[in-house]
Each structure stands twice: as C-alpha cells, then as structure tokens.
Symmetry: C2
Subunit: 553 residues, 2 copies
C-alpha cells in the first residue's frame, strides 16, 4: 500500500454561516462533502445567491470522485446544480436528502443527466484507498449523516450538522453506539460543526416544542396558523399531531411547504392521518376552530405565505381576530427586523401571536448542538487533530476552547480560512499552504465575478447619478449646444442653479482643454467628471455617479 | 375659567422606535415634547436621517409655545435643529440635556439665535392655562424627566424614557414619592414608554454592570478596552471607578465620547480623578496593564473607534493579544451583524472579548423598564386614560395588556398611530380624527419628500442600468448610426449578443413608429424602453433601469 498525502480543506463554510463545502484529498482522489449556498446581505445589492468558488475543482476535474451530502438544507445543497453543470460528479445522499436534491435539479433542468446514488447510514463507499462509512446524527431535517473516511493514514470524521436530541419528535435518534465505536477505533482528525459553540448547556429537545404546541392548540378558539421551515419535518409532524388531537384539518400554504411535505410523505418521513390535509381554497368550508394552517415565511420573507397573510394579501386565507399565529422558528441573524414587522401586522389584525427569539417562546429549538453537545461529540470521537467548521470566527474560536477543555492538545486545533489546507503525513498534521478560493455570485442567470458591478450598484444606490450629454463638434471639439443633464436617484431643491453651475464648468473645461490642444475623448470625459463631481459635492454634500457622454456631431 | 379642548397626539414615536415627538394642545396653545431622529434601515438607500414631519406645526406656527425635552438621546433631540430652523420655539431642558443640545445646535450653526432655558425637576412653567411640572426618572443618560401637564380639564403625565433603578451607579434615583403624590392628585391621561413591554420581570440594576466590570478589570493582564454609548454616563462612571481601583489611566477614543464626557465633567455629572485621563497618543507611554481605553462604536458603526481598532486602523492605539475588550452595550435590533463582525476581528487579534446580546454578558442593562417597571409606573399614576407611546405596535399592544392587568379599564387605552388625536372634553376621551403626518428624510443637506428618488435608487441598486443613446435625424426620425449602449451596475456574459439584440429591436421599433407617423419623442422613448426592457428581462432575468436618450442631429 503506497503512502499518499492526506489533505483536508474547505471551499466554503469557514468564517461564515452558509455555503458549506469541504474536501478530502488522498493521493490523486478528491472527495467532496456538501455544496451549499448562502443568501447575500444588503451590501451585495441585487445578488440572488452566493455559492462556493470551484475554480480549484475545475482545474482538477478528473480527480473529483464523489460528492457526499450530509443533509438537505440549502446551506449544504444549494450550490449542487451549479457544481454539476461544471463537473458531473456522482452524488451520494440519503433518501430524503436525495428527494430535495432531485427537486432542485429538476428546476435547473439537469436531473436526467445527474448521477444520484441513494445511501443509508449502514452503506460503505470505496474511493481509491479510502473507505467511506456513515453514522446517524440528528438535526432539524430528516435523514442526516456524519461521515467517516478510513484512509491508510488514519480516520477522518466529518460530523455534518448535529445535536444530540435523545427524545426527538420522529424516530431520528443519534447513533451514539456507532459513534463510540468510531472513537474507539481511533480518530486522527475530526471536523465538527460550530454554529452554537457560543451557547452554554445542551440544546433543548424537540419534544419540548411538541408539548408547548399542543397546549396552545388546546386553548385556541379559532384558526391556528403555524409558520416554520418546510424542511423541519419533525416540527411539521408535531403540528400534525397537535391538529389530530384537537380535531383540526390541515392546509399547507407556500410552495416549498407543499413540495417538501410531499417529498416527506412519499418517502415515509412524515405520517399524516387520511383526510386531514385540505386545499387552501377549502379553508373557509370549515369552522375556524377546526382548521390549522401550516405556512412558510417564518423568516419574514416578503413574498412568502406568512408575510402575505399578515398584510391580507393571500387569496385563499385570511387572519381574523382571535386567530392564533405561532412562529415556530427563531429568526436567523439579520432577519429580526422583517420578522418583527410581520408580528406587528399580525397583532394589528387582532391575532394572538406567539413569537420570540431562540427558544424563548418555547416554540423553537435549535437544530445545532450547544456547548455540551459539542463536548459530547469531541469526547466520543477523541480526535488527535481537530478542525472546527461551519461558523464565523468567534464560533470556531469557542469551539477550539471546548475541544481543549475535553482533552484535545493545545496546538492540535486548526482554525482555518476557506482554502487553507491541512496536510497529514506520518500522522503529523500541518497547515502551511492554501488554494485560492473566493465567492461566486449568482445574479439572475449569470454566475461570476461581480465586484465592479456591485461597486457601481452601491454608488448608484447611495446618491444616484447624473448623466451629462455633451454634443460636440467633430472637428473643433467645441460644444454645439448646452449640455443636457439627466438625473436618476439624485435630487436637489436648487437643481436649476446646479444645472447652470455645471454648464459653466463644462464649457470652461472643454475650452481650456481645446486651448491646451488636449483633444482626446478620454481626457475630456475624465476632466468633466472630476470637476462636475467636485462641484456637486461642494454644493450638496452628495456624490452621485457622474457619467459624461460625448456625442460627436 | 373658559373650558377648552384638550388634545394629545404624536408626530413620531408610534409604531416605530425613534424620532419621538409628542404634542399637547389646550385651547390655542401647542406644547411639544421631544423632537428626535431615527436612523434609516437599508431600504432607505443613501438617506442619512429621518426626522418628524412638522407640516402641521408650520401651519400653526404661532400657536407653538414650548418644546420640552425629557432627555438627551438622539431619538429625542436629533430633530431639534431642523425644527428650530423652521419654528424658533423656546426649548426647556435640564442642564445635562441642554449641554448635548447646545453642541448639536453649534454644529448646525444656530446656537446663538436659539432660545434655550434650563429647568430642574423642581421647576414649573406656565403656558396659558396649563401648568407644567416635572419629576425625576432614571434611564441610561443623566438628568431625565417625566412631565406633568396640569390643565383645567385634568392632569396629563408623560413619563419620558424610564426604568426604576433603585441602585443606580450615580445619584440619579427615580423620585418615587413625587410620582406617588402626582398619582394621588389624580391623573386623567398617562403617556408611558413601551420599549421593553415584551420583557418579563424588572430591568436589572446598573450596579450589576459595575460589579461585573470590576471583576473583569481585576483579572485583565493587559489593556482593557470598553466600548459603550458615550451618553451612558453611569456606565462611563463605573469604568472610571474600575480603572481607579486597578490603577489604570483612561484614554477616550471617538469624537462623541470625548465631547459627551467633557460636557458631563464640566456640568458635574461625572467625576474623574485628577491625572487619570490621558491623550490617545500617550497610550503607549504606559504599561498595558495600566491602561483603560473607553471608546465609541459599540453598535458596530463602520467609522467609529472600535471598528477601526478591530481592523488595526486606529493611529494612536492598537489591540494586542491578551488585551480584554468589553462590549458594554447590547446591539440595537438591526446592528447584530456588524457587531458580530467586529467581535470576529477582535478574536482574530487574540483579544479576550466579552460580548452578548441584552444583559446576557453581564456588561449591559437596558435603560428602559421591563414589564414590572411599567406596571409600577401605571400603579403609581393610576390614570383614567392611557396611551402607550415609544414603540412598535407589538410593544404598544403588550403595554395595553399590562395597563389592564393593573386596573386601567378596558376601552380606556388608546393605541394610536402618529397623527391620531385623542380629544378630551368633560373628562371623556375619544379618538376620532387625525392630522396628516409622514416622515421627513434628510439626504446630505436636503430635507424633503424623497419617495421617487428612493424608488430610482432601489431600482439602480438591484439590477443597475442601461443607457441607450439614439442619434436620430432631426427631420426624418431615422437612426443616423448604431445606438450606443452604456451600462452601469449591470453585466452579462453575453453582452455583445445582447447589444446586437437591442440594436435590432431599436431599429425596428423606430421604423414602425415612423411608418405609423408617431414621431413624438415621448412615444419613441417609451416604446424603446418597454421593448428593450422586456427583451433584457427575457434573456437575463434581470430588470435594469432602461434610459433611452434621443439625440437629434
């Protein structure tokens, strides 16, 4: 057995929450774990999606052997269509995860040519000298896996996203015994997720949400509207149970809710009593106290069902006084404001609204392990080396402290950036090199480097723009008539004075350049842009984008 | 004594957190309470500030008799310069609040002509038949007042911002006895602030922060950097105490920190031992364990001291490994992300960082009373009528429930919108009319209605723009040469194909219009805009702003 270099790195997921993508290389083989997306914040004006930069993989296309998918959340699968369009690598995932991926590939019209393979927690896959096996973890979506890579150099474990919920709502218990065995066989390197590394204690159990839901359902005198992530099938199952116990029909609102619930039912991850599901248009056929509505939009998304219900813009359903609305999902950081607006609107409709951040409302628990969950994983795995993954720097930092508190040697934890490589040879790990990685922006149907476009959009969005059209004599470079100024996103109460001032500056600038015999269009444009910009800034304290357009006549 | 109508309304502060401004009218007299600003969220592209819409006051200029200011926070004073430029009304405020206002008016160059009057909690002011008196409350800035309006119709009480801190860090105890007396004399209508109406319990005391600060200071082996609101003089005082006990010099970083601390020291609200304060440039003259830095930027503001320290961009000071950084202020909703980025950067510099939301880090307590504080105020005042103020709808809603729980009669609470008027006659209150109010945006030096400008900026920021320059024959309306297309903030990998497509559309559009004898410029522009826009949307799924420019030659 020839000895090869074992290398591990991230193409996304470090110093960020989102677009998770990790890679294991042994010798010539590259094995990928997950390929997620991330949603842009407000600074990325008009960008729809951010996906991992796969330049390195494209350059090493023939070496990429497999994509293993730990679970079906967007931040782990959202980049797959874009990856497969470039590199048609075999994909391995569990039955439920595959359902979500198939739906996504169908939308991108590449389902047919994709090589999808269903695996179970008990499967093994061989890629060159690497044997890949799996273990069950639980999280906030069904059918989640951790992964073990058995290499000649030693074993590498990737946890996927996880918590230890010993009383989950569905039969999705974490396989503690298998994890213990893996730890006993010896783990050279552990990659473990860090989302909640800042939070003390154990993650509360999903069971708690079920009990609280049932209490609310029993007290509700009219309709109950529950909003949660469509993929959180345990939570959906508990809403089904509560509806069953209180004799309510269940209507699903929102495209992703309908799609994911269908996948979950078809594939046996969700049990709904016969006759319970009704169409949205049938809601008004039943007494309000016989109806539950389950809908998307718990993050305040403007076009999702809950937002539209809260403003009375949903055709088939409306929220009336004394209805009960439950936000059964905490707001993701950055979404607090839009969620609050919806809560305000719901109160104004006279609804009882049950909401709150994190688990404070009793209607949400995190799918990511808190500090004690993370310590339990570290203790079960007893790794020699440790790479905290899946989180912002402060989360990775806290996760390192947790690892050291349960016995990982100081100096054996690697806090990496995307692209930083950990190489392992003769059981010694070091991180001295990195591969270049960035972010890839998706804007409409375009994928690519958008930096300069974004710079323009930002400038336009702050102070608008002024176009200055200069009709110039072709031979003598003199102005044929007054410049025409067109503004968008810029306004000033003294605009006519400004216009005169600009005209003055433009005329004298062009005159000076002509006299100095500097007749290049570029020089003229640059000079007009600079001086007009300076003038506008002095007069208005604003800096619109100035676009001079010379028209030769 | 002739009987007049008593009316109360808000010009800002309802269904929002910010730009507080309330008005009491008795007969012909209008008395104003506070005039704050609000910072825009990301949807208001390029807007610097939002202030109350004072159209109604301008229309009734001669009736406006006084502006009473409860305390010196921006959301209560930030609009004052803009108000005074329009209506030079006498301003009444306490000594510390006046210090902050004076500084602001100086920046706007209207200090000299302003009519500022210092009041104390024991002062009384008479405006027509209304006698105005005050009572001390505590909050997170010195010298805060509640206000009592004694009118022939009955007494109206406005609480200002408050909590009941019985062990404040400075001598700023709430005057419970005076409040009890006011309640005993009878309160017809109470206006009370609602910021924390959603939170159970009592607000923790500022004392707790002091004890925690001191513990951290004692354990710190290198520099201690504390970031908080400059106006939170109690917190500043506690940092001074902790520095004194651990033999540290104190440097102030950030313009507002230097300004406000100076005001507080000059006016006797802050005691700093002689020789403790050092200049920023002297920081490196002392051993790191002998230095405290107090700085602005606790909300993640990009240009403030903490942000610049966290990226190594502050000339006089730098953060080194083992330094301790304390974020002694919770992030205001909406600022979580920028604060997190700073925390990440500080960890990367090797600092110990103490942070957390709300009071979870032990380094911050709210200045706004929780539910039990609010119930205590309601119980002391025993109002017949109640208007919850200062908060989003959900906060006002919860505050109403609290009022009813301590005895305010259902139906006697008015949840208003800005501009809704409560009229009181013969001790009976009703709300049937409103005055028109909006928001006023401040953009650079411009103040006014910016709706259409904002719409343009939003569109430009999302998909950028395409300018299409059409050189047209003056007489025959035919194209003289190919259209020129200029794009900003818009990109597409097939741009040259798009250009060809657009040319085709433009040429045929102009041709058709010419044949149909429709030669108006407006029709041409409109048609080109529509068809090119449609074409671009089909091809790219993007909707840049299309600006056709016809140049007659």
């Amino acid at each position: 057995m020839g000895k090869n270099l074992l290398s591990v790195f991230a193409l996304g997921g470090l110093n960020e929450v989102g677009k998770n993508m990790y890679a294991i290389e042994y010798g010539e083989d590259i094995i990928l774990i997950d390929c997620g997306n991330k949603f842009p914040d407000e600074s990325l004006l008009g960008i729809d999606l951010i996906i991992p930069d796969i330049t390195y993989l494209e350059e090493n296309k023939d070496r990429v052997q497999a994509l293993l998918v730990t679970h079906g959340h967007e931040d782990h699968i959202g980049g797959i269509p874009f990856l497969l369009k470039k590199i048609n690598v075999p994909v391995y995932a569990t039955r439920f995860t595959l359902g979500i991926i198939e739906n996504k590939l169908k939308e991108h019209r590449i389902l047919r040519e994709s090589d999808l393979n269903e695996i179970k927690a008990s499967s093994t896959i061989n890629v060159g000298e690497v044997e890949i096996s799996f273990f069950k973890v639980n999280h906030s979506i069904p059918d989640c896996l951790g992964i073990v890579f058995s290499t000649p150099e030693g074993n590498v474990v990737h946890t996927g996203d996880f918590k230890f919920d010993l009383t989950p709502a569905t039969d999705e218990r974490p396989d503690l015994h298998k994890m213990a065995e893996i730890g006993n066989r010896g783990v050279l390197l552990l990659l473990s997720e860090s989302t909640n590394a800042e939070r003390a204690g154990f993650t509360p159990s999903e069971k708690m949400v079920g009990e609280n839901l049932e209490n609310i359902f029993r007290r509700a005198k009219q309709k109950v509207i529950v909003s949660t992530f469509a993929s959180n099938i345990s939570r959906v199952q508990q809403v089904v149970h509560a509806s069953e116990k209180t004799n309510r029909k269940l209507a699903l609102l929102g495209r992703s809710m309908v799609t994911v619930v269908k996948i979950a039912m078809d594939r046996g991850y969700l049990t709904v009593p016969k006759g319970m599901l009704i169409e949205a248009r049938e809601i008004n056929d039943y007494d309000p106290d016989r109806v539950t509505i389950l809908c998307t939009g718990s993050q305040g998304e403007a076009l999702a069902a809950l937002s539209r219900l809260s403003t009375g813009n949903y055709r088939d359903a409306e929220i009336l006084p004394e209805d009960t609305v439950i936000l059964a999902a905490g707001p993701i950081p950055g979404n607090e404001k839009s969620v609050s607006t919806i809560v305000d609107n719901l109160f104004q409709l006279g609804a009882h609204v049950i909401y709150g951040s994190g688990s404070s409302s009793g209607m949400h628990v995190s799918g990511h392990g808190y500090q004690e969950d993370l310590k339990l994983m570290l203790t079960l795995m007893k790794p020699k080396y440790f790479i905290p993954i899946h989180g912002e720097y402060r989360m990775l930092h806290h996760h390192r402290l947790l690892a050291e508190s349960v016995g990982v040697e100081p100096g054996n934890t690697f806090i990496l950036k995307n692209g930083d490589v950990v190489d392992i040879e003769d059981s010694q790990a070091r991180s001295t090199r990195s591969i270049p990685v960035g972010s890839t922006y998706v804007d409409g149907v375009d994928v690519g480097d958008m930096e300069f476009v974004l710079r323009d959009r930002k400038k336009l969005s702050e102070d608008g723009m002024l176009m200055i059209i200069l009709p110039v004599n072709k031979t003598e470079s003199t102005l044929m008539s007054d410049p025409e100024v067109i503004s968008r996103g810029f306004v000033d109460k003294n605009f006519s004075d400004l216009r005169k001032g600009m005209n003055r500056i433009i005329v004298s600038t062009l005159e000076e350049l002509r006299e100095a015999n500097r007749n290049s269009w570029n020089v003229k444009k640059k000079q007009v842009k600079k001086l007009v910009g300076q003038y506008i800034k002095d007069k208005t304290r604003k800096e619109p984008m100035i676009i001079p357009i010379l028209i030769e006549i």
